[in-house]
């Protein structure tokens, strides 16, 4: 049964990928990318990797779709036709690369092979000893946060570096160019607003659950951060960017990515000061398992803060850009998507 599901999902993935290649409508492509991520998340779930599936569904299908849409709102909706050139050279390059990759997979161990190097190195130790050494049921969390604490610190720093790059290129303005709020007719998004007020708090609560229950069930700082950011982005989409900026002022948000990395690194420094090695949580408390719990809890908070704030910052920066260029857009809908809709109606007019 698993094989059938796998084959179906992989076939969907392939269809998705091919249709993305063939589409010329960037908006439809964005939707297909979201679908691609969602199917990948399904595949991860069938492989018993719900932690990864979580992140893939939230980032790939949720936030990155919104980021691409925010970018799309500033460019055109259609991909421009590329000038006709010889397709032989690219085709040859693709074929050769593909052949090399397929040749390379011949040497890889089969999927799930117990003799594969991955399953003979440190993996068995993590799986067998995690209960005794770390004492939390979710082995993924114990590997991520404790055994491979250095790697995870590196990942958090990468996320931090990404937002530093985006901010140094684009920057977040303290006070964005506002939309004119005064409108004659009543606001038309009532249904969305009612549902969003009901759903957003629940999503935030779920993010907290994923954050603090990550040692027992799938989840942790990365997933929680992404879900938290998705909730705020949903709020921003429905109620407008200005309202969302009142929830989390940029002055605070600017500092949060660094704060998360500091919390993570700070735990390491504290363990150093208490006489252990960097990120060796045993120094934190008398009891070994309590110490591990504390360490994992703290660094997961650091991870969560960084990931959530980075996602939000990137979203705010991207969606602000669209406003800066066209200060007098926003005629009626007011959610920063005025330009996208304009492009849509232009298309309609041209073909109808």
């Amino acid at each position: 049964m698993d094989t059938v599901v796998d084959i179906l999902l992989l076939a969907f993935l392939a269809i998705c990928a091919i249709s993305i290649l063939r589409l010329r409508d960037l908006f439809a492509m964005t939707m297909m990318f979201g679908l691609f991520s969602l199917i990948s998340a399904g595949l991860f779930t069938t492989m018993d990797a719900p932690d990864v599936a979580f992140t893939e569904a939230a980032v790939g299908a949720g936030i990155s779709t919104i980021l691409i849409l925010a970018t799309l709102a500033q460019t055109s909706r259609r991909e421009q036709a590329t000038p006709a050139r010889s397709k032989l050279v690219p085709l040859a390059v693709v074929w050769v690369t593909g052949a090399v990759l397929i040749y390379g997979t011949a040497d890889l161990p089969a999927f799930g092979d117990p003799d594969a190097p991955v399953h003979n190195h440190v993996g068995p130790h993590y799986i067998q000893e995690s209960g005794k050494e770390i004492g939390i049921p979710n082995v993924v969390a114990s590997v991520l946060a404790s055994y491979r604490g250095y790697d995870t610190l590196g990942e958090v720093v990468v996320v931090f570096a990404a937002v530093v790059g985006v901010m140094s290129l684009l920057g977040l303005r303290r006070r964005p160019p506002g939309l004119r709020p005064a409108r004659g007719k009543p606001d038309p998004n009532d249904v969305l607003k009612v549902i969003a007020t009901m759903v957003v708090p629940v999503i935030l609560l779920f993010a907290l659950y994923v954050q603090f229950h990550g040692e027992y069930s799938p989840g942790g700082g990365f997933q929680a951060g992404v879900i938290f950011a998705a909730a705020i982005i949903l709020y921003a989409l429905v109620f407008g960017l200005d309202k969302a900026r009142q929830v989390i002022p940029p002055k605070v948000l600017n500092r949060l990515p660094a704060a998360g990395v500091l919390i993570y690194g700070g735990v390491g420094v504290v363990t150093l000061l208490l006489g252990g090695n960097f990120l060796e949580y045993y120094a934190l408390a008398e009891d070994a398992k309590t110490a591990q719990h504390m360490g994992i809890l703290f660094i997961e908070i650091g991870v969560g803060v960084t990931v959530a704030s980075v996602m939000l910052l990137i979203y705010f920066i991207f969606s602000e850009r669209g406003r800066g260029k066209r200060p007098d857009e926003g005629n009626g809908d007011g959610d920063g998507d005025g330009d996208g809709d304009g492009a849509l109606s232009r298309d309609e007019g041209g073909t109808a």
Binding site: S19, R22, L23, R24, D25, A28, P188, V191, L192, I195, M198, V199, V202, D333, D341, L344, S345, D347, E348, G349, T351
Partner: protein, 109 residues
């Protein structure tokens, strides 16, 4: 009794699956955008809850059932809203529900 529950749960799952197929056919075959949204929302509002109800009967009175119940509530709130938002965006984008014609993107993709 377990047999009855099993039967009921499979009936629900099959009905849900049938709604999914009907919704899919409608999504492909119906002539214009708004009726297609209508077909898609059948999948949202009947297919998923039916299947989840069937699964709830399968899992009995456990934590899984509670989680599935939360899922139903969440879907019940969000999917009609998504259909509504889609239809409104289409109206806003200048689509006319009165006219029946094929979608633009259809010919090219």
């Amino acid at each position: 009794m377990p047999l009855l529950i099993d039967l009921l749960s499979w009936a629900l799952i099959l009905v849900g699956g049938a709604f999914g197929v009907i919704g899919g056919i409608g999504l492909l075959r119906l002539p214009e955008f708004f009726s297609r949204i209508h077909a898609a929302s059948i999948t949202d509002s009947m297919c998923a809850p039916c299947i989840i109800a069937g699964l709830m009967l399968q899992s009995g009175l456990t934590l899984v059932t509670v989680k599935l119940a939360f899922l139903v509530v969440f879907l019940f709130l969000t999917s009609p809203t998504a259909s509504h938002a889609l239809a409104k965006a289409a109206l806003h984008g200048g689509m006319d529900p009165g006219r029946t014609r094929r979608l633009d993107g259809e010919a090219e993709s």
